[in-house]
Amino acid sequence: MRLDLDHVSKSYRSGWLKQFGRPVLTCVDLTMNPGRTIGVTGDSGAGKTTLGTILSGLLPPDSGQLYCDGTNYWAASKNTRKTLGRKLQMLFQHPEATFDPRWTVGQSLGEPFKFTGKHASAEILQGMLAQVELSPAVLTRRPDQLSGGELQRVAIARIFALQPEIVVLDEPTAMLDTLTQARIMLLLDRIQQLTGVGYILISHDPALVQRFCPSVYHLESGRLKKIG
């Protein structure tokens, strides 16, 4: 899928009368071709997560358009948005918050299937876990019984159950230690080679972005600049 951002702006209003307006993104343009990996760097608080949320179709911009394969996302009908939205997924920074704390891993993994009409049998779930190198015993555990690295793997498994075409990686390894970070990134790399999915890697670690992204953008004061 090809993704285009055209003159997108977003600001956050706060205060009792919404009198404080903080512009987060100003006239951002971005083009992403299918199957590529692009990196987005920037200082903390610069708005990288906001950009990521807009790119995954979860947050409407104040002005500007998001085009998926030429279709204007926010101008399309609700059904079209739903179908397109499934192809755009996001991997979050805090893996422990990505799961309903009352559901087991098995239930959370099976959730995407409810929306596609397919049935998630035990074999399918175990297969998904095997893809991310986790044992089937994990299916009966709850999120608070797993480590950050394991949770992030389950999150990856769940996202790829929907066969997305673009995944926004929002600082996926910021909360993980060096070894686990390496393993998760290599797993994502392998999946990309298998499925041809496109990645948008958001990170404040320039070395990480250098290693994985052929083209890099930098977000500063609300403006996006291509630097690599």
Partner: protein, 330 residues
């Protein structure tokens, strides 16, 4: 926007809420008197008064109706009513034979004599003790005060009063019951004040104790507590200088919400001890079906609670710098 301006705006918004509340209370009163089944004139005059007037001649009834404006449209009547409330004409009490404002004013004073000191003492005493209990609460020894205090809180103030009255009914030398308006001398008044006041304070302090204890207990895990301890500060310095600073704003907010409850409790205590405050007033008005007085008491009590809440808001705004910065607290 500067800090003070935002704070003023915050308080202004709160005042708007209070005015809205008072308006709705007046609306409720109006609806009750005028929209309840039956002739509003009966509600205003009382059954006895109405039948007395009716037996004379029907012309004076019609004249009275016109005088009270009961023959105009509901909207007009409501505007009239609001005007009267604002200017202090809250109607006539047929049971007491006086303007409602006078009746209420007399009784409200006695209630405030109970409520004011009770609020202050329970907040200071309960809060301070609760803070210490919260600080020590993580050790094994620190658990039992919470249960004792919960037991105290669970007994409503008026039940406590009844129990105490029961227990001390043999001690005739103590003037427990008896109208607070009669009797002379400071000793008499103070003695009669002592029991109901203690009972209300005990219950109120128990509640504040629990709130403060839980709040402090939750804060003990906060990162800034570790930072403060790592600076070599003593227990007292950490508790008063850091933890209490953070706990006071929400504590005041919760206490402000509790004022309405304390008012209710005070009313019941007054009935038990035959204290001539709003409690006995409501009690007698209910028996006599004196609706103007009832409506008036609701308005008066609601106003008192709102004034107290406004004071709490000012204190909250002063204590919490985030209010002045426009940072959303919700």
């Amino acid at each position: 926007m500067t800090g003070t301006r935002v704070m003023v705006l915050f308080l202004w918004r709160k005042m708007g809420l209070y005015v809205l509340t008072l308006f709705l209370v007046c609306l409720l009163n109006f609806c009750l008197i005028h929209l309840m089944p039956g002739d509003p004139l009966v509600h205003l005059l009382g059954e006895e008064g109405y039948s007395r007037l009716d037996s004379r001649n029907s012309q004076s009834i019609n004249a009275l109706r016109a005088q009270l404006g009961l023959d105009r449209s509901k909207a007009e009547q409501f505007v009239n009513y609001i005007q009267k409330v604002v200017t202090g004409d809250w109607g006539w009490s047929h049971h007491y034979g006086q303007p409602v404002v006078q009746v209420i004013g007399r009784h409200l004073l006695w209630t405030l004599i109970l409520l004011g000191p009770a609020l202050a003492t329970s907040i200071l005493g309960g809060g301070w003790l609760g803070a210490w209990a919260g600080w020590r609460s993580r050790r094994m020894v620190g658990q039992w005060p919470a249960y004792v205090v919960l037991g105290l809180y669970a007994i409503p103030a008026y039940c406590m009063g009844l129990g105490v009255l029961m227990a001390t009914s043999r001690w005739h030398w103590m003037p427990w019951a008896g109208p607070a308006g009669s009797g002379i001398g400071i000793w008499n008044h103070s003695a009669r004040l002592a029991l109901p006041l203690s009972v209300i304070i005990l219950q109120g302090a128990a509640y504040k104790f629990m709130i403060m204890r839980n709040a402090v207990r939750e804060e003990l895990d906060a990162a800034y507590v570790l930072t403060a301890l790592s600076k070599g500060l003593s227990d007292r310095q950490v508790l008063y200088g850091h933890i209490l600073r953070n706990v006071l704003p929400p504590f005041i907010a919760v206490t402000a919400l509790n004022i309405g409850f304390m008012v209710g409790g005070t009313l019941l205590v007054e009935v038990v001890f035959a204290w001539r405050g709003m409690g006995t007033l409501i009690h007698q008005a209910v028996i006599a079906r004196d609706y103007p007085v009832l409506s008036g008491t609701l308005t008066a009590l609601a106003t008192s609670v709102l004034v107290a809440n406004a004071a709490a808001d000012v204190i909250h705004a002063l204590l919490d710098p985030r209010v002045g910065q426009g940072v959303a607290l919700e």
